[in-house]
């Protein structure tokens, strides 16, 4: 029979105490993955620790250095945040792609990271924006780069008693913009078959001075692809550079065959989306200059 408790701590310290004291407890943010897995019998938590009543987990703070995003902030709140949309249009696109309007009302970036799906939409977009995960635990706070947070499907660096509190995203340097694209068979409601995020910095002359490229659903975790970034840096994002980035992304991909796509398909489309996302990011920079 059910032996689950429901807890709704109001501070990070209280939440850490709860999850530290009970290794069977699960942190409940939006619940859009956790509750599905629970009902499918994949895990039987001894407690749901609802962190949405902790103020700093559900807010967005913008300062000179960038943004601190509460890990349990609902996707819809992020998408409605004007400054988020202005600073990180690609990240907001990725957030907006997490499920339906209904799911948007519940799902969170922190939950998306902690669920550690290789196909998570936000992870790539956070990686290209150099986001850092702020983790609270019984021994205090630590910071982990987003690209190191997930270690495999369903696995993260979180240790017993630890809680993802927020995500810090540095303010983009001038001339920088991001973009995220994913391929799904329908127009909505699917899990990414492939995803690609690109962040670009262009000089006043239109030459790319910095770039980050990350791809999703093509490896056990989201992949940062420096080779694809290298293909863009120093170019004016001409066709050859875009093709170079696409080829690098395809080469980096090491996908599997499953019900959502084949190896060959994912590899090819990873390149296509990388190229397109780079072009969109570049257009965004130009639109800002």
């Amino acid at each position: 029979m059910q032996t689950t408790r429901y807890e709704a701590p109001e501070s990070v310290a209280a939440a850490v105490r709860l999850v530290d004291a009970d290794p069977g407890a699960k942190v409940l943010a939006g619940g859009t993955d956790l509750l599905i897995q629970f009902r499918a019998g994949l895990h039987r938590p001894t407690a749901f620790v609802d962190v949405k009543r902790i103020p700093e987990l559900v807010d967005i703070a913008v300062d000179r250095d960038g943004v601190r995003l509460g890990a349990a902030t609902a996707a819809a709140v992020i998408c409605e945040h004007a400054e988020m949309r202005r600073l990180f249009p690609g990240l907001v696109e990725a957030v907006q792609l997490i499920g339906s309007t209904q799911i948007q009302g519940r799902s969170t970036v922190g939950g998306n990271l902690c669920n550690a799906s290789p196909a998570a939409d936000t992870t790539c977009a956070l990686i290209v924006n150099r986001a850092q995960c702020i983790i609270a635990g019984p021994r205090g706070e630590r910071t982990v780069a987003v690209e190191q947070f997930c270690t495999g499907p369903g696995k993260t660096v979180l240790q017993r008693g630890e809680l993802l509190v927020s995500i810090r995203i540095p303010r983009p340097s001038p001339g920088t913009a991001d973009a995220y694209l994913r391929l799904i068979p329908r127009s909505e409601m699917d899990i990414a078959v492939v995803g690609a995020a690109v962040s670009l910095t262009l000089g006043p002359d239109g030459v790319c001075t910095a770039a980050r490229v990350a791809i999703a659903a093509v490896a056990p975790t989201a992949l940062l692809v420096p080779e694809a970034a290298d293909a863009l840096i120093g170019s004016r994002l001409d066709e050859a550079a875009l093709r170079g980035a696409a080829n690098a992304a395809s080469a980096a991909a090491r996908p599997i065959d499953d019900k959502r796509g084949t190896i060959a398909y994912r590899r090819q489309v990873a390149g296509v989306l990388t190229k397109r996302a780079a072009a969109i990011a570049a257009e965004r920079v130009k639109g800002r200059i």
Binding site: I36, Q102, R106
Partner: protein
């Protein structure tokens, strides 16, 4: 294990109910509160039949724990009409024949109301994407989209 005692506001009325810690809001609404207008189609957040508003925001009640609504407000399909006056979305669904079997209709109406609460003048494309989380298998969506757009027009102040 002890049941959770939840005090909340549902459709403008104070309500109290008991639930298991792991019960969904959907289950509590239907069984503990007796509001069966909110429908269960999948319990995985993929069909939208269980859509409700929580603190004014559209959520899938199958993926909300009942215990979470402590102190919050919930609006279900039963709370969409204003007394005897149907909400324009409800009225337009009737006028356009925007339902066939009707099982998805409560979820669509709640979701469409949430849309029009924040966007009085949605385009067809916006409306389709907003409602993409509500599955309908009978209508092909055509009449539903027309009904929502027509309701939007009816809600806008006369130009």
């Amino acid at each position: 294990m002890a049941k959770v005692h939840v005090r909340t506001t549902i459709n403008g009325e104070e309500k109290e109910f008991l639930c298991e810690p792991a019960d969904s809001l959907l289950g509590a609404l239907r069984d503990a509160v007796g509001l069966t207008g909110t429908k269960e189609g999948c319990t995985t957040g993929d069909c939208g039949a269980c859509s409700v508003l929580m603190d004014g925001r559209l959520v899938p009640s199958c993926l909300v724990l009942a215990a979470e609504v402590q102190g919050r407000t919930v609006t279900t399909i039963e709370g969409i009409a204003n007394g005897h006056a149907l909400h324009p979305v409800q009225q337009k669904f009737l006028e356009h024949g925007a339902l066939q079997c009707g099982i998805c209709t409560p979820g669509f109406i709640v979701a469409a109301k949430a849309l029009l609460d924040t966007r009085p003048n949605p385009t067809e494309v916006e409306t389709r994407y907003w409602l993409a989380g509500n599955l309908c298998r009978c209508t092909g969506y055509d009449k539903i989209i027309r009904a929502v757009l027509d309701a939007a027009a009816a809600l806008r102040p006369e130009a």
